[in-house]
Symmetry: C2
Subunit: 247 residues, 2 copies
Amino acid sequence: MSTACVIVIGNEILSGRTQDVNLNWLASQLNAVGVRLREARVIPDVPEIIIKTVNECRAVYDYVFTTGGIGPTHDDITSECISQAFGVPYERHKEAEALLVKHYSPDMLNEARLKMADMPRGATLIPNPVSTAPGYIIGNVYVMAGVPRIMQAMFDGIKHTLKGGKPVLSITISIFLTEGTIAKGLTEIQNRFSDVEIGSYPFVRNNKLGTSLVCRHTDSSLLEQVKGELISFITSLGGEPFIEDAA
Amino acid sequence: MSTACVIVIGNEILSGRTQDVNLNWLASQLNAVGVRLREARVIPDVPEIIIKTVNECRAVYDYVFTTGGIGPTHDDITSECISQAFGVPYERHKEAEALLVKHYSPDMLNEARLKMADMPRGATLIPNPVSTAPGYIIGNVYVMAGVPRIMQAMFDGIKHTLKGGKPVLSITISIFLTEGTIAKGLTEIQNRFSDVEIGSYPFVRNNKLGTSLVCRHTDSSLLEQVKGELISFITSLGGEPFIEDAA
């Protein structure tokens, strides 16, 4: 199964001004196409940090997705940094330029907007059906906008090209028993089904403490087996399991 | 000014099941006490990744805050990994154990719950006023729960001990002009006030496109100066600036 890393670029996330929502959306989407998101990094608009992070991550993961920093203003430095990370010239991309020339009226097409066509040499464009200025792919790095609606449209345009595996399915079983009560039996089930990822997450609902058990695997029949085991186990403790989503 | 990194530990964030909210909250809090959050990483429940990430980050930043993985179930492996990262024994912390013994009735205090007192040797406890099982500090690493309400209570208990600097103040000026229109003049102002971080963020409100300019610095009089410059500049373009938050 191929692996991915998301790099969220932007001071506004690290200052607390903006709640990032791109990571969560990309995580679900990647999961659905069978690409395993293994890490995410949130980094500031600092050239050396962007360059270092991109180079570290592209060496480790099959896919790297960046969000943010490809607009027209002075703090949009992602493309220049990606060029440096790849050691290629940062230059005007003719095809991207043509898109901007077509989109903007001549009095609107200033140098700042044209900067959105400056990219690392060798970039392949990712269409932007929302506001034209494209993202791009270079090597295994997918460079996308930070505005969620634009980022999502960009990802939708390329996701069919990703080499994923079987999508990871999940079953969630919830109970009004606390983690400490079920931990021992749960460990035994996890040990018997070591291939299935079983996550345990406490919750509070209607002022009652409970636990959600999330089982993840590509094989739905294996998940059904684990589900059966978990239900028997929970019932044996006097709990009433309820299924929240099925594979 | 001291620097910090947040490490969010948990498969549920990377699978898209859970939207992380801890990073945003910690970012605001750290900003308010004058600690600069420079990076965040989101990593899975995989021992070698946790160990490597903790060691990388604690070598680079003044403070490292981890969230997640300190509960009683099999997937709570943070403390064992932190012990390995520091090369110290993973063992029962007497003071933490005493807290759990006091909190739970004898029939509730099983081995799984006692696991929450297993920590790296040398850990200093962080109180948990919500559900007792404590977090802890080892070296410059602050290990906290993943449940937001508990994590927040833990952080509130230790934030006065952090060696911060002056809090970073911010002024946000918004306008219904797009980034491409203001980019050039904005760059000039940024160049003249290179110490002030000026971020430019597009938005859509009432179906109208606009830009928020966020100016950040510890010095309020310097921010007032930049604000004056930005207002003159925007007004000269026919825009009507409105101030969204003041220093």
